[in-house]
Subunit: 363 residues, 2 copies
Amino acid sequence: MDVHGNPYRSIRLSQDDRQVEIIDQTRLPHEFVVVRLSTLDQAVEAICDMQVRGAPLIGATAAYGFCLGLLENAEDKSLRVIADTLIRCRPTAVNLRWAVQRMLTVLLPLSPSERVAAAYEEAAAICEEDVAANKDIGKHGGGLLREIWEKKGKSAPVNILTHCNAGWLATVDWGTALAPVFRAHMDSIPVHVWVDETRPRNQGAHLTAWELVSAGIDHHLIVDNAGGHLMQHGQVDICIVGTDRTAASGDVCNKIGTYLKALAAFDNQVPFYVALPGSTIDWQVSDGVGEIPIEERAPDEVLQVQGLHERQLVQVGIAPANTPAANPAFDVTPARLVTGLITERGICSASRAGLLSLYPEKG
Amino acid sequence: MDVHGNPYRSIRLSQDDRQVEIIDQTRLPHEFVVVRLSTLDQAVEAICDMQVRGAPLIGATAAYGFCLGLLENAEDKSLRVIADTLIRCRPTAVNLRWAVQRMLTVLLPLSPSERVAAAYEEAAAICEEDVAANKDIGKHGGGLLREIWEKKGKSAPVNILTHCNAGWLATVDWGTALAPVFRAHMDSIPVHVWVDETRPRNQGAHLTAWELVSAGIDHHLIVDNAGGHLMQHGQVDICIVGTDRTAASGDVCNKIGTYLKALAAFDNQVPFYVALPGSTIDWQVSDGVGEIPIEERAPDEVLQVQGLHERQLVQVGIAPANTPAANPAFDVTPARLVTGLITERGICSASRAGLLSLYPEKG
């Protein structure tokens, strides 16, 4: 997508075709900074510190991190070390494991001398497939928005509520939950987005709002508490969120707070959709609430808020000195609350049967 | 309650028996500052700027604001001006209107020369009644906590989730939702409180956490997004919140986001209680969602966060420069999601019949 009129992706190779360039997402929306990764450690750090985040982008960064690791050592033993180092970064996002597994499958049969070239090729393929998948998610989800617009007599914008950032910054390009919004906007369907700020890290305020401002799409920032009230009063036509891991049963693990919005949508008959590429589905998990590990992140993310003060990016403390905090980073929305899953292959019900209708090869 | 070992109330007369002292709640938990109000305008400002907040404390401040207004002019015409000026401050809290109405009822029949003394007497009565009511709420709600503790075999603390601040700072003393927690703690029942930070103004992080630290009560601060996940995983035994206005039907208007927690409690069979003094009941309203006006506050409360940076209280911007925000301050939780109402007269179901069983004089 465009930034100041220049087309960008959230990750790309630098001109030497070896190093990897990412956007430091911890500094948005206040500073737009491109960071160059030269080593596996730097890639791991970028994932852990959330300079990159979003399940698909974590997968893509892990793939390129694998390449950088191989530049240091491409022996068999090294492959396992690289894989383990990457997988440890973030326990919830399934794309990380998926991308690392895919790299291993391609690289293990090759001789060490062939591995670097093959790894870069595979990482590039992962990125291209992600862009294509998200573009298709945009097409299918955009159809939903068009239907709502037509049902409203084309008289008013379609009001979409989203949580966290599942825009192009969370993927390689296009995004998942925001792809339908970008698609609709390009097709001249009027849209308005309610952006959950998404505490503790405020990816909604920092990233989703920034993407929408950059694209010239109408939106309002709201606190995470506000969505239920808006739905009670008919101000939300549809919710669309992303996901870090989708259980084969259709349970959806996404940023903490998603479950609360799904409950409110269900209570007010507002359609609640989850947008995801197939790589986000964990076919091994059938009980999302019971089985998906939920990352507990540092209490400081709750106790502190980052923002701009006198043109400086600073952290401010919001709690008394002796108050401890708990910080579960994700929650699981049971399939019964999900109207449908928007995938690159089409839209299906949030159920094993629904998913298998689109991915029959997993049956 | 005690602050640094000294007993405090959130509002009291200063030594001259004329001016009124409040705690500037916008500066907590970082600074404890007592502010003196000498005029009606200062009282109005304290309410509008939320130096005082919480339905019962707003009522008490309005009563004393009335007194300060009478010091300037106690003629009949002045009474109406004072009343209108106060009622305009905050549209949602019913106690404001209730307190002003009560002052008018007492003062209108009197001659101007009698009014100042009678007004101070009535304001003091409102405060004393509030303290007594909240103490009784603590007794009744404390009983609930004791039951849960006994049901758990006295083996683990009772986990209470609360939203916003309905502690002693929201009332004259004791609090509403926190009164049962203080009561249980005094009675040596082990309690642990999950404190919703409560964006946008973070009354949970600023005030509830501060009250609990001051009282030595175990707690964790969480983001507003986290409660549903905790309830899914059995980490919440009971939710208790306050209310700014309770419809005669049992619908409850409280700080934005309360409805989402009630939905999660209902979905996970966690008891959801609302604590309130009778003065918070609006006997005229039967449909809370449709009838209660919801205050829309300034977008800056969403776009900015207040906190401590290098020992200075500062505001930081969290959104892109061109992002607008919407800021509804309250929402309504339908009675069907509320397990019970804890009042000064006992606990009842959230329904007209339940309320009338405790307040038969309103039938």
